[in-house]
């Protein structure tokens, strides 16, 4: 029996009917076509599906879509403002903090949630912030350098 789900994704409100066992990642990818959010394991171990839910980094394969009822979700597609990339995106580009790119959305969203909670994390705190996300390509250090550069204010976010 499908149930009503109301949520806001990247500022856009949606009303959907979903099966109770549908995962949030399925709603994002399959219902809304937001395929930037990836799925690498379906057991909340790899972090590729990380999104920001009410300000917190959440692995979208680990929660049911209905648990996100009424929530504000931010996915990688909502990170840039129009054509202006988010500072984290700019920093990832400059530092080569991605290779195959499959973990990148999750890494960006985990970093974004980290900076929201703690705008001045230490290197160790950045490492902790992305420890739930696996990257098989980069060895993490370029990602840590990119986030550090944002923390240091090398990339300014334009005020709304």
């Amino acid at each position: 029996m499908k149930k009503e789900l109301k949520l806001t994704v990247n500022g856009q409100p949606y009303e959907l009917y979903v099966n109770p066992k549908t995962l949030l990642v399925q709603v994002l990818r399959d219902y809304l076509g937001l395929t930037g959010t990836k799925r690498g394991c379906n057991s909340s171990s790899c972090g590729a599906c990380t999104v920001v839910l009410n300000g917190m980094a959440v692995k979208s394969c680990s929660i049911l879509a209905l648990q996100a009822d009424g929530a504000e979700v931010l996915t990688v597609e909502g990170l840039a403002q129009g054509t202006k990339l988010h500072p984290l995106q700019e920093a990832f580009l400059d530092h080569g903090a991605y290779q195959c790119g499959f973990c990148t959305s999750g890494m960006l969203m985990a970093s974004r949630a980290l900076l929201e909670e703690n705008p001045k994390p230490t290197k160790e705190q950045i490492k902790e912030g992305i420890d739930g996300n696996i990257c098989r390509c980069t060895g993490y250090n370029s990602i840590i350098r990119a986030v550090t550069a944002v923390v240091k204010g090398e990339y300014k976010e334009e005020k709304k």
């Binding site: 990818r29 937001l34 395929t35 930037g36 959010t37 990836k38 799925r39 690498g40 394991c41 379906n42 057991s43 171990s45 790899c46 590729a48 996915t75 990688v76 597609e77 990170l79 840039a80 990339l85 995106q89 990832f92 580009l93 400059d94 530092h95 080569g96 991605y98 290779q99 195959c100 790119g101 499959f102 973990c103 990148t104 959305s105 960006l108 490492k127 902790e128 992305i130 420890d131 739930g132 996300n133 696996i134 990257c135 098989r136 390509c137 980069t138 060895g139 993490y140 250090n141 370029s142 990602i143 840590i144």
Partner: protein, 757 residues
Amino acid sequence: MSKYSVIGQRVHNVDGTEKVTGSAKYTFDVVLPNMLYGKVLRSPHPHAKILKIDTRKAERLIGVKGVVTGKDTLGRKQGIWRRFPELCDEEILCRKKVRYIGDPVAAVAAIDEDTAEEALDLIEVEYEPLPAVFDPLEAIKEDAPQVHDGVELNINVTRHIEWGDVDEAFKKCDHIREDQYRCCSQAHVCMETHDAVADFGYNGKLTVWTSSQSSYYIQRLLADMLDMSESDIRVMNRHTGGGFGSKFELDSAQFPAALLSMKLHRPVKIVLTREEEFTATKRRTPMYYYLKLGAKKDGTLLAKEARVITEGGAYTSMGATALYLTGFFSSFPYKFPNYRYDGYRAYTNTAPTSAMRGFGAPQSTFVGESQLDMMADDLGIDPIEIRRKNGMTPNYEVPGQAFIQSCGLHQCLDKIEAHIKQRGKLPPNHGIGVSAYGFMSGGIFNWFNTPYAFSAAVVRVNIDGKVDVYTGACDIGQGSNTTLSMIAAEELGVRLEDVRIFSGDTGTCPPDLGAWGSRETLMNGNAVKRAAADCKRQLLEFAAAKMGANIVYDLDIKDRWVHLVDRPERGVSYFDIVKGAIRGKDGNAIMGRGYYTPHRKGMISPAYSFGVQAAEVAVDIETGRYKLVNVTTAHESGTVINPVGIEGQLEGAIMMAGGYGFCEDQPMDEGKILNPSIADYKLIRSLDMPETKILEIDTYEPEGPFGAKEAGEGLTNPTAGAIGNAIYKAVGVRINNLPITPEKVLQALKEKQTKKK
């Protein structure tokens, strides 16, 4: 100032903005109208006869559109060693027998994944379990179960390499060591699991989107298995979420998806689950290694003998190549006057073992570098010194095997020696271990039996001066699209943003072997450079006529400026020349072709990279746990085309190669992999990642494009050996059995204590 305007620049990858905005589309994201979703049923037995498969209940389930089993295939066996039919031994959909837990027996297409999954439970397979064998040392015994009928002692492939007179040389040695090692398995753990979308049209043509390292291999193997003409199959590699050696054989997503699509005339998508990825795709080859090393008192190495038995798993796959390469690279990077290798690959009832980044060389480097340090220790020689004394140098011929042109090994040793000195006195239970390595820039062997050039490219210059590059190279995250675009831009004298690259699509790109064996920078780089040079020649012919300069002047293009080389201020805009040249050719666009096949470069590879790595560990002697503190690498890969890319390869390799030494393994019980999930398969996460430092060494490889050579896999070779040597330096114990877990270190420390008493 650099003589190059694009090469060596720190650039964003050409697909970077797509990747950081989530707009890059992977096969995983492909959705076609009317598409079905497939799932694969796999054997729960390590070895069994298939007596009967009843698919009727599954076919009756609402939402199921089709089921295929081995009966729907042509009954052919395939393999990537196509030149040797007896080594093409994998059916993918088994007809009569399954040989490992995970061997596919049926596939279902349904309206969604849940329905397909449900249907798998309704397929009834009657098996007759057979005795199975899991360890290669057991498999080669006379009374062992036969994995493949008619294969004596389960020996799948043997390899012998020899030069000099090894037995005579050992007689002349002052000191000989004999050691045994075991190298474990490792999973690739690509973030995007194996997947494919197959679309067979009513026109009889098949289109396949797949996450792959070689579109051409997949096209050709599908043609073999489906009895189709290869040009009726188009394989497209879009953005690919990692490969690391796991994605250039025909797999259990691609073949069943194609078969189902042909049966149903609808697009079918199959995405392997993470568990399938761990249990039913290929993996790194576990090896038993015996090494004998002989030296003079002064550390001169006179002879080496290596004997290896590898765990082959159920099928040949690329394991035959790993068997050969581990033997060749066991001599690296040293000048052994006498060397002998004998390798045996045994079939077992375990998941097939194959290529993985480093391709046999991480194993040989771990064992060889461990033993060399022991030899140095026995002789009282510094580890750097013994490597310096015996290390390869430029223009060295590996007797009868290979010719090394550029080689910066000694510069790397100097840099690492300086780094170790700079670290000074270390805290207690800290140690720095070194490991030297080398690797190939693409393989010369053609066991795939391609009739085409190894690499090929087409470059087109359009009326607006923009450049399109078409190449069969596959960008799997290593950044080949960026590197090749940079090469095209440099050669043609345009900017990187003027180039657009189309790659890994057999429908539009020339055939090409793809991304494996660290071949794309050198081989595809040469092909792209030649194709761009072909275009440039056509443009300069027109420019010479238009500019009317004295014929003694050479013309060139740099940063969109067509000019006289000796008088760079005398020139014209590149854009004007392009417009004129196309008009001059009666409107025919400027097209250039290039290809590369290595010739007269020995039997292995046209060029080799070298490096030395130092790993620092801190061991807790109470628990055996240790921390990777710092990994510093001096690496030479010829001219650096894309510095950001090389840094990424280096640091990323440390995550993967460090994991091989530190924690990654696939323990099994009766052929069942016990840790088939990312939660249970331990790999290095951000908190375990050591500090990394890169020391670049300048070399120039005459065979490579602009002097470049490989920088992808070689970097995976040294780390396990460096960790092992570091632990020995730190606490005096030696672990000969990968991975070097805290339990093993603790056990060895206890044994050392007991011996002391």
